[in-house]
Symmetry: C2
Subunit: 205 residues, 2 copies
């Protein structure tokens, strides 16, 4: 791509550093900004910069927060001895949207993935184990994705907390509500039969 302007080229290059944004998409976005008022680009640039420099992570659960201890952790109506372990902020948002969970979270910041050079010490695992050791926790719910990396991470944490007297569980895997059985993959369908639940309890939810 040959640019008639260094400023344009530079903006496109920076934009295309973002994941999933190629040079062509970057050019389309940047040209769109040129058609919009200058103030729009200023607002965008300021919002990104302010977010990147000022955003905090909750000292307790490592969720993104504007304050030292996030709203969920500091909410006295939440059950603080039930901790849901998730990969990142998006998972917290997804579970919060369901309004089905009254405990608190622990955001690991990723999964153990040797292929990507992510080991246990790159994640916020120690602080979780520390909480368990101090007897603050009664139940831990693993809500990582059911991939090799997710399972490895679950197991790594489990090994370190299994000697403490706490309940551990993982979220249920099964056929999505509303899905047709014939289109479900075999592993999911198989698990949903093995891990079937009493009919009475299905009536409650």
């Amino acid at each position: 791509m040959e640019f008639s302007s260094k400023l344009l080229e530079n903006a496109v290059n920076e934009m295309s550093q973002l994941p999933g944004i190629g040079k062509r998409t970057a050019l389309r976005l940047v040209l769109h900004m040129l058609k919009q008022p200058e103030s729009r680009t200023k607002l965008l640039a300021e919002a990104l910069l302010k977010m990147r420099t000022e955003v905090k992570f909750c000292k307790s659960c490592h969720n993104i927060s504007d304050v030292e201890i996030c709203e969920i952790c500091s909410n006295k109506n939440r059950v603080s001895h039930t901790i849901c372990v998730v990969e990142d902020v998006r998972d917290v948002m997804a579970i919060e949207n369901t309004s089905s969970f009254k405990g608190i979270y622990h955001v690991l910041g990723g999964k153990i993935s040797p292929m990507d050079g992510i080991g246990p010490h790159d994640l916020k695992i120690e602080s979780l184990v520390e909480k368990v050791k101090q007897g603050e926790v009664k139940e831990i719910i693993f809500a990582l994705s059911s991939t090799m990396e997710g399972d490895t991470t679950n197991f790594y944490i489990y090994k370190q907390i299994q000697d403490y007297n706490i309940v551990t569980s993982t979220i249920a895997r099964g056929i999505s509500v509303g899905d047709e059985l014939e289109y479900a993959d075999e592993i999911t369908l198989g698990r949903s039969i093995v891990n079937r639940i009493p009919f009475e309890s299905s009536l409650k939810s």
Copy 2:
């Protein structure tokens, strides 16, 4: 979507103003920035801001440029009496990549599109007609896309310059080089037969 941080929410909202970027994609991009060093976000924000506030448009052809008259217009090796009329900067870049055009460009900045509220006066048509009136132009090549809007724009310009003694042409439409005839759409294939060219001239290019 409920955010645990106002700063995050603001950044996602600004990001999702861009075309083709939804809230989920915006969140993914913003969370990626949080994993990268602060300097990356600074470089991005600065590049966008600098581009938006400092970029210029060539006074002659309206192409994006860092100087008053762009490199193409000020290049004395280009044939300045042959003008290729295009919609936007990307078209200039595409044609420049072919190295097949030695004339100069005129960037309209869009197409006449009453549906989108874009009339002739929103485009850089007057300055093109002015150039023709002053006798600077020998040939005009229309290279707009062959849509209703493109054809309307071509015709609107053509009506204003037809009384001056200049050659007008449009770029050839036909089957792409390397394409199979059986997969071509009928309009393109039909046109490529009607507008067939002497075999000898096909040998030259």
